[in-house]
Each structure stands twice: as structure tokens, then as C-alpha cells.
């Protein structure tokens, strides 16, 4: 709406300077990106070494491609005001079923991808139908989904399995080697940086979801439902169908994430992706998504996930090697972001502070 008005105005004479306030979504997004860049830059200055190595930066993506994907799924669901706790369980189930399918049933790689998608789709379908059409609380349904997925994983195989399928191993060990970027080893050899193909899948998904959320009817409906359920209903938005599709999409994304996890580790295990749902929720929150719905952006989620993982690396680099420091700092960081969001949003509600977008960003702030 606003962008159309802008266009009409820009055809005429620019009458006066318009002070366009930054939207909540964009403000929280900006904070997250700045935090990530600041944190990584600080780490580079402080500890140098590993952080200056490009491989360390790419490993951040290599190790967490699955987390980025499920965080995107959760962002979609959370924007619509729901929650999905089953994503971690689905990842574990997908890894286990795919390994068993590849090794015991002699399945093909393409077949295993279809299996992964199918599992995700099934979870999305059932959970979406129960939440949207039977109006059951999403927390309970997805919690049961998590229990079911974890239980099914041990029913499929109670011991961890590592895949030995050759075609799969070829795919798993495939790396994109950057010839120009890399680091020098101690003996002077140049080691090019390697990127896993899963990273591109994850970034592609982030881009697609970004487009869907911003420029499609479905995406705008999600924001409308999460922002105000009643007025969305009165606008004639099909709330049930939109909610259903949000869970469906989240289910499919967790299926994909499960396959990415398998590509990264090559093993099926019930303890795969333990507590991934909480990390994904944390990533979304750090990225500026509100659990109340209506506010959020997948780009923020991407940076949220990266920040969450960077802080763990920093904690290890700073010499606090005891494992409990990682979760304590994660908790503190979460606390910081949650308080920040709460304070900023309450100040904005009172209209106390008006932030103005810099000129070069103003065009993109058309959404609320």
C-alpha cells in the first residue's frame, strides 16, 4: 500500500522531506545484523587466529545449515502466532529412516530425499490439520509430534547407525572448494576453503522464504493473522487455510533440514538435533521474531542462528572451556535480546522515540 503511494508521490514534485519511521520488523533486524557483525569483528580483533581463517567462517554455515532451515520454518509458524516443537524430533527421525532406507532396503539417494520430504510433509500435514482445523493448541500438538518422532526413531533402530551407501557417501563428501579463498597451514601449504552443498540449499531456502513472506499473498496473510487475528478474519483472510499451510511448510522444511543434517554427519541417531527446536526458537527470537506473532523476518533469523553459534565459538576461544559456559552465555545472550526487544517495543508503543531510516534504506521499508 505504502509503496504505491510512494510511487504516486515520486512522479510529482517532492514536496517535503518525509520522515518515515522504521518498522518494528526492520528495527529488530538491523539490531541483529549489527550484533552479528560487531561480535564477529570483535572476535577477529581479540583472538585473531581461528577467526581470521575463512574456513572458520564457512564452518559456521557448514555445521549449522540444518539449524538455519528449521529456524526459517519456525519463523513462518511464529509470525502466524503458532509454534512447532517437533522440528528437532523430525530431524532425528529423518536421519534414522534415511540411513535404514539407504543401507538395509538398498534405496537410492533420490529415493532417500523423497523419504525425507515425505516424512516432513506427513508431520506438517497432520500437525497443521489438527492445529488449524480442530483448533487444538499448537504447543501440545507439536509436543506430541516431538515425542512421536523421537519414539519412532528408536522403534526404527535403537542403536545409532552410520550410512555405508556408496552413492550417498559420494554426495556427502562432495565439497565446493574455493580456490582463491583459504588459509596457509603451518608448513606453508595453501588450504582452500571448503563449503558443503547443504549451505547453498539453506541459503536458497532463506531467500525463497524471504520472497514468499514479503511479496506473496500467503506471506502477507501470515503477518496479518499473527498481528491481529480478529481483524484478519474480518478482512476475509482464510485463517484456517493459512495456518494449515504455515505448519505444512514448516514440516517440509524440517524434512529438508533432516536431510541436510544427514549429509553433514552421515549418521542416524536418536540424539541427533537434540534441543534443536529450542535453538531454532532462540534464533528466531534473536532475529527479531516475536512469539506473539506478526513481527519477524527470515533474514534476521539467519543472522540470529549465526550469532547464536558465534557466541559459542567465542566462549571456547576466550578460554572458558567448561561445557556449561556455552549454555550459560547462550542464556545470557537470549536474555539480553529478549529484554532489548521488550524495551524497544514498549518505548515505540508509547511513541517516545522515533527512529528515522537512512536514505539508502528507505525504499525497502515499505512493509510493517
Amino acid at each position: 500500500m505504502t509503496s504505491k503511494l510512494d510511487k504516486n508521490k515520486s512522479t510529482g514534485i517532492e514536496t517535503k522531506k518525509r520522515r518515515e519511521p522504521i518498522s518494528s520488523t526492520n528495527l529488530l533486524l538491523t539490531i541483529t545484523i549489527c550484533t552479528f557483525i560487531g561480535m564477529y569483528g570483535f572476535a577477529m580483533l581479540m583472538w585473531g587466529g581461528g577467526f581470521l581463517n575463512p574456513q572458520q567462517f564457512f564452518d559456521l554455515f557448514n555445521n549449522n545449515a540444518y539449524l538455519i532451515v528449521i529456524s526459517c520454518g519456525l519463523t513462518i509458524v511464529m509470525i502466524a502466532g503458532g509454534i512447532d516443537l517437533s522440528v528437532g524430533g523430525v530431524i532425528a527421525l529423518v536421519t534414522m529412516v534415511c540411513v535404514v532406507y539407504l543401507d538395509d532396503k538398498g534405496g537410492s539417494v533420490v529415493g532417500s530425499m523423497a523419504v525425507a520430504l515425505g516424512i516432513g510433509l506427513a508431520f506438517g500435514l497432520i500437525q497443521g490439520a489438527l492445529v488449524a482445523y480442530l483448533e487444538i493448541q499448537p504447543f501440545i500438538i507439536s509436543l506430541a509430534g516431538m515425542f512421536f518422532a523421537k519414539g519412532m526413531t528408536t522403534i526404527v533402530s535403537s542403536v545409532p547407525r552410520t550410512s555405508g551407501n556408496e552413492a550417498f557417501l559420494v554426495l556427502k563428501d562432495f565439497r565446493i572448494v574455493l580456490q582463491n579463498v583459504g588459509s596457509y597451514a603451518k608448513n606453508g601449504n595453501f588450504i582452500p576453503a571448503k563449503i558443503e552443498p547443504g549451505v547453498f540449499v539453506a541459503l536458497g531456502i532463506v531467500f525463497i522464504i524471504f520472497v514468499v513472506l514479503r511479496w506473496t499473498r500467503f506471506g502477507r496473510n501470515l503477518y496479518a493473522i499473527g498481528g491481529n487475528h480478529q481483524s484478519a478474519l474480518m478482512l476475509g483472510i482464510n485463517i484456517k487455510r493459512t495456518k494449515f499451510f504455515s505448519y505444512l511448510l514448516c514440516g517440509i522444511l524440517s524434512g529438508i533440514a533432516g536431510y541436510l543434517y544427514l549429509l553433514h554427519t552421515g549418521a542416524g541417531n536418536v540424539s541427533n538435533a537434540t534441543a534443536a527446536e529450542m535453538q531454532a526458537i532462540a534464533s528466531s527470537i534473536i532475529g527479531g521474531t516475536l512469539l506473539t506473532g506478526g513481527v519477524g523476518n527470515v533474514i534476521g533469523t539467519l543472522f540470529g542462528a549465526l550469532s547464536l553459534k558465534t557466541i559459542n565459538t567465542i566462549v571456547v576461544a576466550s578460554g572458558l572451556r567448561e561445557p556449561y559456559w556455552q549454555s550459560i552465555t547462550t542464556g545470557l545472550m537470549l536474555c539480553f535480546f529478549i529484554l532489548l526487544q521488550s524495551v524497544i517495543l514498549s518505548i515505540r508503543e508509547r511513541g517516545g522515540v522515533k527512529m528515522v531510516m537512512p536514505k539508502w534504506l528507505r525504499r525497502s521499508s515499505s512493509d510493517k
Binding site: F147, T154, Q326, S327, L332, I338, S342, S346
Partner: protein, 353 residues
């Protein structure tokens, strides 16, 4: 009599009662001796009760206590605290570490219990502050403690799993000599009586419900909604401390990673199975208690059917989904319409609960 049945059929307790009855009947068909209770002599030479019912009642003690606290928090704050397991781990660690520092006497145990209650109340206040003052969703606010709480427990324990060995502690976790009823069950009974008295003689229940139903109008009516929310979180803290102490006394050691694992999920489920809305407002503590015992009965039934403990989750999930689907408003409405059709009554506008 008929009025009574109608009242039950309309109340939120219908689904939990049906679920419990179904579980009992299923177990009777499966094994007629499932519910026999026998008096056996345990290895300390005491006469104690034993049987599946007793193990259900004992096993669900922590869950029942946490479910009561969770119900109040859910009612007032319109959301759930997912950090109860972590808070119980912290409380248990404090309890164990105080006991390890001195000679264990009943007085010291009471002192340690009070200390761990205070610590748990502090953590409850932390969550409560975030929720009541900063207006953060309870689940998000407690996510902080959920991620870091068990690590705090690990830090308190200095990275080990300390043990306490004392007959007094094992009495607390299993049986007091001369009393055949397990101590955790007694604790739950005493706790329930205290809570019932508090709700009977104070306005806490009413105030909690009114804050949950409409916070604005509650405030305009002179209820300090911030304080009520804070109070429910502090109360949940006490519940966490009691649950932590029971769990520690059972096995005589604290392991920060495994103690009361996933109990937050079970506690929230108990609240939901009890027919309480997870969106706050009216609540029924009896429903939540029944929910807790249903969950434990289900687990024990599955164990009795030789289901491996790791697979139990999948079957539990199916039963839970069945229960919540039966209890969902839409299904209830269809059921009411169907009943009216069968009774050949004219269709009436269904009530909106």
C-alpha cells in the same frame, strides 16, 4: 443424580475422567491382577505397600506437584514456564550441596529445604519479572532459564554428580519406617491440602483467574496483576524445589543432566489433559492432578506391556493426541450436534464455552 451426570458431562473434567476410566478398563482386560496391592517387606524390614497403583501414585509425585504450580502460572500469565525441570535441578543441587557440607539431621534437612526453596523462588521471580514487568511471553522468558539452568546446576555441583547417603534422605524418597505409604505420596497429599486451604481461605484463585481472563479489567478493579503473576511464578518456584528434593531423595544423588528430564513437557501436558486452557483464565487443579496421574498411568501401563522405555514416547504421543482431539472444542461441538440429532431434539444453537 441425573443432574450430577449432566454437570460432569458439561465440565472440563469429562475428558480426563473418560481417559482415566479407559486406561483402567484397558488394564483390567489386559491383566486382571494389574491393580492388586500387596503388603511386602522391603529390604529395610518395613511392611510397605506394593503394586502398580502404588508405583503410579509414587512415580507421579513430582509431576503432580509441578502440574499444580504450572496450572496457576498458566491461568495467570497465559503461558507456560518451560524451565521447571532446570529450576528443579538447581534446587536439588543446592539441597544436596548443603547436606553434604554438614552432619545430616532432621533440622539440617529442613534448613536445606528452606534454602533451596528460596533459591527456586529467586529463579521464579526472575521469570516472573520478565513476564509481569517486561511483558514477555512466559515461554520465551523461561527459555532463558531452560537453556542455562541445567548448566547452573552443573556449576553448583562443581561438574560432578554428588551423592548423599543418609537413612533420613532415603526415608524421604521411599518409605518412613512404620508407614506403609510411600513418602512422596504423603508429600503430595500434604501439599494438596495446603494448596486447597490457601485457595479456600484467600482470594488467590479468584484473582489469578481474573488476571488471566482479562488483565485490564482486573487491574481496573484494583487487583495488582503484576504482583499476582509474580506470586504464581514464586509459587511454581516452591513447587520446583519440592519436586527437586523428592527426585534427589529417591536416588540419593543429583545428576544435572538426567534429573527430571522433560518434566516441563509432561507438566504442561498434564495441565492440558486436565481440560485447562493453555491460554489462561479459568483453571481446575483437580483436572491437572488427574492429568498428571493419567500420564504416569499410561507410562506404567506401557512398561507393563514390555514396551522399551525409549519407545514409550511414541505411544504416549498417540494417546495424548487422541485425548486432546477428543477434548477440542470443534469435536465437542460436533458431538453435541450428533447427540441432539440422535435424540431427535430440534437443533439448538450450541453454547460457546
Amino acid at each position: 443424580m441425573i443432574n450430577g451426570i449432566k454437570k460432569i458431562a458439561r465440565s472440563q473434567l469429562l475428558v480426563p475422567i473418560i481417559a482415566l476410566l479407559a486406561l483402567i478398563i484397558f488394564n483390567l482386560f489386559r491383566d486382571i491382577n494389574f491393580f492388586t496391592i500387596s503388603l511386602i517387606t522391603n529390604n529395610e524390614g518395613n511392611q510397605v505397600l506394593s503394586g502398580n497403583i502404588i508405583s503410579i501414585l509414587t512415580g507421579a509425585s513430582e509431576l503432580a506437584i509441578l502440574a499444580i504450580g504450572m496450572t496457576l502460572v498458566t491461568a495467570a500469565a497465559r503461558g507456560q514456564d518451560i524451565s521447571v525441570g532446570a529450576a528443579a535441578a538447581i534446587a536439588g543441587s543446592v539441597f544436596v550441596n548443603i547436606l553434604r557440607s554438614t552432619q545430616i539431621t532432621p533440622g539440617v534437612i529442613i534448613g536445606a529445604f528452606v534454602a533451596c526453596c528460596l533459591v527456586a523462588i529467586l529463579f521464579g521471580m526472575f521469570n516472573g519479572t520478565l513476564v509481569a514487568i517486561f511483558k514477555i511471553q512466559p515461554m520465551i522468558a523461561s527459555l532463558i532459564l531452560f537453556t542455562s539452568g541445567r548448566s547452573v546446576a552443573y556449576w553448583i555441583n562443581g561438574g560432578a554428580s554428588p551423592t548423599v547417603e543418609s537413612p533420613l534422605i532415603s526415608h524421604l524418597g521411599s518409605f518412613i519406617p512404620g508407614i506403609p505409604i510411600p513418602t512422596p505420596v504423603l508429600v503430595v497429599i500434604v501439599f494438596c491440602i495446603i494448596v486447597a486451604l490457601i485457595l479456600r481461605f484467600t482470594n488467590l484463585g479468584l484473582y489469578t483467574q481474573s488476571v488471566g481472563i482479562n488483565e485490564r479489567s482486573a487491574r481496573l478493579n484494583g487487583i495488582n496483576s503484576v504482583w499476582i503473576k509474580m506470586l504464581t511464578f514464586m509459587f511454581l518456584g516452591v513447587c520446583c524445589a519440592i519436586a527437586g528434593v523428592i527426585a534427589v531423595s529417591r536416588i540419593g544423588l543429583i545428576n544435572h543432566e538426567t534429573i527430571l528430564l522433560d518434566i516441563e513437557m509432561d507438566a504442561i501436558l498434564a495441565v492440558a489433559i486436565g481440560g485447562n486452557s493453555l491460554g489462561g483464565g479459568k483453571f481446575s487443579l483437580i483436572g491437572s492432578l488427574m492429568g498428571a496421574y493419567i500420564i504416569q498411568a499410561l507410562t506404567i501401563t506401557l512398561y507393563a506391556m514390555q514396551v522399551p522405555s525409549t519407545d514409550v514416547k511414541a505411544y504416549k504421543a498417540i494417546v495424548i493426541i487422541a485425548i486432546v482431539v477428543l477434548g477440542s472444542p470443534i469435536v465437542k461441538r460436533y458431538a453435541a450436534q450428533l447427540r441432539d440429532k440422535l435424540a431427535k431434539k430440534p437443533m439448538k444453537v450450541t453454547e460457546n464455552y
